[in-house]
Amino acid sequence: MNTSYRYDYEVITGWITPGEKVLDLGCGDGSLLKHLMETRQVQGYGVENDPDNLVTSLANGINVIQMDLEKGLAGFEDGFFEHVIMSLSLQAIHNTQGILTEMLRVGREAVVSFPNFGYWRHRQSILNGRMPVSESLPHQWFNTPNVRFFTIADFDALCEINGIAVRERLAFDEGKLVVDEPNFLASVAVYRLGRHN
């Protein structure tokens, strides 16, 4: 998680009701959860597997639990959290469908944000023959933690196939809201997801 993506935080904060129980998967340095504790008084828990991030999260005063998200969320009770958040981490997980299913099992809603590989600058970069490197995709191809490369359109299709309800979707171009053609014009998308009942 990169703390420069404040607009992602603000959208997520807007979806959280004061006093909720929140789980933040891949909580990084804990700054989002700290923000939610301060502005929404959430009972929050972060999940992080990187030792250095874990220590920083502890220093930030949040509850942080070390575990490997690839192994799922088996220890958490069904529906315990109001929101399960994954901010800019979904693209770094192999078990994409598994973790989405698990997020909607332990949470009433899931909040997911990810970099849009279909962003026009990324497309332009590929057309020029090079893998994209940008604010939302800051790594080189040889050192990126990302393992899944997908677009907003791809994610919409995945939700459709898995019966996941897209309750809200906001897309941004380096911090500015994008309304038209988000799959082309937006670098990051933030989703509020639920289960079809």
Binding site: P51, L54, L58, V64, I65, F76
Partner: protein, 375 residues
């Protein structure tokens, strides 16, 4: 001799308690003494006290060293001192020898006032809950209403957990390292083999060996050797000792040939030379009995509902005696009670013994947690 970040030379103290203590197992102690040490200064608000609970073979001598013995470095000295993760410039740290112990607190080696003889096998069974009740008396004695934290590894972690259940208003933070909410059958099995080694030693004399001028050293040694096998991981044993021959090749004898044999015998002999066999028996039984969820039909979350403390739980990837999965049970039970809990699973090769080492990630986690405790 002392390291700049050491608490330096420390002097053990003894507190005497004259009020009888009713024990969970049904017995009563008419009065008792607890040996303890303190490091740092209690602040004016009396809000910076941290209790360190010891495990099976530990003592009140947690940090620093004794004036008469330069080799007597406390068992958790790498954690506690000025500038160390549990910083004695900020915290007032207390180490205590548990009831039934053999390092100065009242135990089987002490004289039973009713008979004028060593308690021996007549010393009543003590549990984790009894230890905590006795520690609370020490807290009263020191004028500490509420601990900033209670910290322990292994069996010490069980005491930290029990503190949050017995005295929820008297503990702000519990730190349980390499611990478990209860022992598994396999774990009890190891303890039982250790106990049988002692109980069947001809020098045990039914627990009254003191009067016979005897020590069940063979049983204690075997118990300790078995323990040490379970405190290490297969990998760490392979790395430390491998199959190294002491004579460079097989000499076909039952004397020490492999380095691991030398290590286990040395550790066993060292332990048997000073540890009390009855204390070992009592302490392993206290480990076996600890199971706060038992009275709640095995529901750990229900049993932890009364604790209000914030928790840090730490486990080690190669610890198979107190495996990470047992720590995770505690974490989930606390989380589902909406308690504040953090959990670190440290990548460390040394097995259960890891909790006594100074792995950088491990100590960074402890430092990060202690630093954020508000006094």
């Amino acid at each position: 001799m002392t390291h700049p970040r050491s608490v330096g030379v420390v002097t053990p103290q003894v507190a005497r308690f004259t009020e009888p203590l009713s024990l969970r197992g049904g017995g009563t102690l008419p009065g008792f003494e607890l040996a303890y040490e303190t490091y740092g200064e209690l602040n004016a608000a009396r809000s910076n006290a941290v209790l360190v609970c010891h495990a099976l073979s530990g003592s009140h001598h947690v940090a620093g060293l004794h004036a008469d013995d330069p080799a007597s470095v406390g068992w958790w000295d790498n954690l506690i001192g000025p500038g160390k993760p549990l910083d004695t410039r900020r915290f007032f740290v207390i180490g205590v020898n548990n009831l039934g112990g053999c390092y100065g607190s009242t135990g089987p080696r002490s004289i039973n006032p009713a008979t004028g003889r060593h308690w021996g096998a007549d010393f009543p069974f003590v549990t984790v809950e009894d230890w905590v009740a006795a520690q609370a008396r020490l807290a009263d004695h020191l004028g500490i209403e509420r601990f900033a934290a209670v910290v322990g590894g292994s069996l010490g972690g069980m005491q930290a957990i029990s503190w949050t259940l017995q005295y929820p208003d008297r503990i702000a933070h519990a730190v349980a390292v390499a611990s478990a909410p209860k022992l598994t059958a396999q774990n009890i099995a190891f303890n039982e083999v250790a106990r049988q080694a002692i109980l069947t030693d001809p020098d045990f004399h039914g627990g009254h060996f003191y009067e016979h001028g005897a020590v069940p050293a063979r049983g204690l040694k075997l118990a300790r050797m078995l323990g040490h096998i379970t405190y290490l991981s297969d990998d760490s044993m392979a790395e430390k000792f491998g199959r190294s021959y002491r004579h460079g090749k097989a000499v076909y004898s039952y004397d020490v040939e492999f380095e691991i044999e030398s290590y286990l015998r040395y550790q066993g002999d060292k332990f048997a030379s000073h540890f009390d066999a009855n204390t070992y028996l009592l302490t392993t039984k206290a480990l076996d009995y600890f199971d706060p969820a038992f009275e709640h039909g095995g529901n750990l979350a229900a049993s932890l509902a009364r604790s209000t403390a914030d928790f840090l739980i730490v486990s080690f990837t190669t610890d198979w005696r107190f495996a990470p999965i047992r720590s995770r049970e505690i974490v989930y039970a606390l989380l589902h009670n909406r308690r504040n809990v953090s959990y670190a699973e440290i990548e460390c090769a040394a097995g259960h013994d890891s909790f006594l080492l100074d792995d950088p990630h491990y100590h960074a986690v402890l430092r990060g947690y202690f630093d954020r405790i508000k006094l």
